[in-house]
């Protein structure tokens, strides 16, 4: 790495500059929607209707956030959301990495059956009703377990991790085996530490998925105030007319419109649900941006 300073050719320099320019343009283009949401969330909700808020609030206010935090159920929701995110992510990582390791072993006999069995689950679902009835029969309705247990295995995550493991030198495992380590130990002691970048990525996917989901709360735990999640509580505040096309009752629509949250509150909700995840991000990011040298681990 230290050799780069004297190594730059003219072409390299052009490439570098062009690269910085392109990436800067991408940053500008992609930062806009979020800043826009942020600006609107701090703008007076009546004033927002006039439009034309871009990067900066026109009439600054904290009222939108005060309104949101005025809902007491948010705190319970927040706790449950964190709990499900942590537990769901840990369980999901465990299952996906174990399965990925098993599949990455070329000498595993049932790997074709297992990978097909897994892959198919990505493309079908029995549908809402049978799943609901299954959960009822397993007594999962109205429990915390319904958030983390049914989705423990995600085939997508398994295959992504396996593709990473496939790229690791196989020789590492063989030498460990010669040293008398069993398969679980090899997985745990040798493979897992090498997989940090991909595990961090999958952890991010799992955490965001868990954090953002509200539909399971809605279907299975809506009548359990002690088990509702932050997202679900915020969905309650959100407008209820987005898909009103099925309704033809003008009176009802009028009543509902009175309950519609103003744009600014919606944006503040977006910020409230996104920020906790953004806080986690830097901790995971160093694994897949920082870069790690395999060589160091190898020796």
């Amino acid at each position: 790495m230290s050799s780069k300073a004297f190594n730059l050719t003219r072409g390299e320099r052009v490439f570098s500059i062009a690269n910085y320019v392109v990436l800067t343009i991408i940053v500008i283009a992609t930062v806009y929607p979020f800043l826009n949401v942020l600006a609107i969330s701090f703008n007076d909700s009546v004033d927002t209707v006039r439009g034309g808020i871009y990067l900066w609030p026109r009439e600054f206010t904290l009222e939108n956030y005060e309104t949101i935090f005025g809902y007491k159920s948010l705190l319970t929701g927040f706790k449950i959301s964190i709990l499900r995110t942590v537990i769901g992510t840990v369980l999901g990582l465990l299952s996906a990495s174990m399965l990925a390791y098993v599949l990455s072993r070329p000498d595993f006999r049932s790997s074709k059956f297992l990978s097909t069995f897994l892959a198919l689950t990505m493309y079908f679902s029995g549908g809402m009703v049978p799943i609901y009835i299954l959960f009822r029969d397993l007594n999962l309705l109205g429990t915390f377990a319904v958030y983390v247990l049914p989705g423990i295995v995600s085939a997508f995550n398994v295959f992504v991790i396996r593709s990473f493991m496939d790229g690791l030198p196989y020789a590492l495992q063989e030498s460990a085996k010669l040293d008398g380590a069993n398969d679980f130990k090899i997985f745990y002691k040798i493979i897992l530490p090498l997989c940090k970048p991909v595990l961090a990525t999958i952890a991010l996917f799992l955490a965001v998925g868990q954090w953002n989901s509200w539909f399971d709360t809605y279907l299975y735990n809506g009548n359990k105030p002690s088990l509702t999640t932050l997202q679900y509580e915020l969905m309650k505040i959100l407008d209820s007319t987005q898909q009103g096309s099925a309704m033809t009752n003008a009176n009802d629509l009028a009543n509902k419109m009175a309950q519609v949250s103003p744009e600014s509150i919606k944006m503040a909700i977006t910020i409230v649900v996104t920020v906790p995840i953004l806080v986690v991000y830097p901790f995971l990011q160093r694994y897949f941006v920082g870069g790690m040298t395999l060589g160091a681990v190898k020796s």
């Binding site: 070329p106 990505m122 799943i131 992504v160 030198p169 790690m292």
Partner: protein
């Protein structure tokens, strides 16, 4: 370069040809690899219970399902729902739109994130790299409602896109871009790229960090430039991740969701904006025709699985690798 081919060789070497199996050797394997089985069988059971067992719900597609009745009381109608589906002109329309948009999305969703990840990887300044990466993934968390609003105003008659085109004298008067049916697929794909590229690049970035840095050192010693390094080391290094994602996404060609199409679309472009998932919602669940909805999702599943096997087969044939 030599190190690279060596790495590739070690990859192919990894899968020794299996000899013909019989019962005894299976039992022996079972004992020998007991940890591997212990690490996988619980999850197989799990998947069976939570994913495979509820498939009995597919029987609904062959019934005139009524939520109120028990399984035994349902009326069986054979393939009626499928016959109706395949005779509906609108089904073919939404199928066309779905395939067009997801096909475009598949290609764009492959090229742009990879390109972005590769470019990012070439950045030497760590703070710049981290900031760029963090910011680029933010739009993923902004809902489609907001993004659709922004896109619509950018593309409106007095929006910035028309202003730029006018300024460049490419057009004489503003164009109502969102009213053009034929441009709708492009608008959806473009918005998708804008919103998801940074997020989708994360996986490739992680894969890139798995590439042995010694390979780059060696290439540099050989005098390879940046493009050569990208082409000969970075891309081959993440090939297996690219292929796995590509194959899995091919299987998802029919499952596009409907949110972005609905929010970006309007009544003028509905012939090009309606997709299969919305059709299933409108003509299935929303009007309590659960059987019809199930028939559609069964069709989607079967086609998805066929696509998956085809893609995987081709992958296996040409790349000598396979996800299954």
């Amino acid at each position: 370069m030599e190190t690279l081919t060596a790495a590739q060789a070690s990859q192919t070497k990894k899968r020794p040809k299996k000899t013909k199996t019989n019962k005894r050797s299976f039992l022996k394997d079972l004992i020998q690899q007991k940890y591997l089985y212990l690490m996988s069988i619980p999850f197989v059971i799990w998947l069976f219970v939570f994913n495979y067992y509820p498939i009995w719900g597919w029987t609904m597609a062959f019934q005139n399902y009524k939520p109120a009745r028990t399984f035994g009381e349902q009326e069986w109608v054979g393939f009626d729902n499928f016959v109706r589906l395949f005779h509906d002109d609108q089904f073919y329309l939404v199928l066309r739109n779905t395939l067009a948009m997801s096909g475009m999305g598949l290609v764009a969703g492959l090229i742009f994130p990879i390109l972005f990840a590769v470019l990012l990887n070439e950045v030497k300044s760590m703070p710049f790299k981290r900031i760029t990466q963090t910011i680029s993934y933010l739009p993923h968390f902004v809902s489609w409602v907001v993004v659709a609003g922004i896109v619509t105003s950018l593309l409106s008659l007095d929006g910035i896109v028309n202003d730029i085109l006018m300024w460049l004298h490419l057009i004489d008067e503003p164009i109502q871009i969102m009213a053009k049916e034929h441009w709708f697929w492009g608008v959806v794909t473009g918005s998708d790229i804008w919103k998801e590229t940074g997020w989708n690049a994360i996986i490739y970035l992680a894969a890139i960090t798995g590439i042995d840095k010694e390979l780059y050192e060696a290439a540099r010693v050989d005098g390879a430039g940046r493009f050569r390094q990208i082409w000969n080391i970075t891309l081959p290094g993440i090939r297996s991740t690219i292929m796995v994602l590509f194959v899995m996404n091919i299987g998802h060609l029919l499952a596009t969701g409907y949110e972005k199409q609905m929010l970006l679309g309007n009544d003028l472009v509905s012939d090009y904006s309606q997709v299969l998932d919305l059709y299933a919602l409108d003509y299935g669940i929303k009007i309590a025709h659960f059987s019809y909805g199930t028939a559609i999702s069964m069709f989607t599943s079967v086609v998805s699985i066929l696509l998956l096997f085809t893609a995987n087969g081709l992958f296996k044939k040409f790349a000598k690798e396979s996800i299954m």
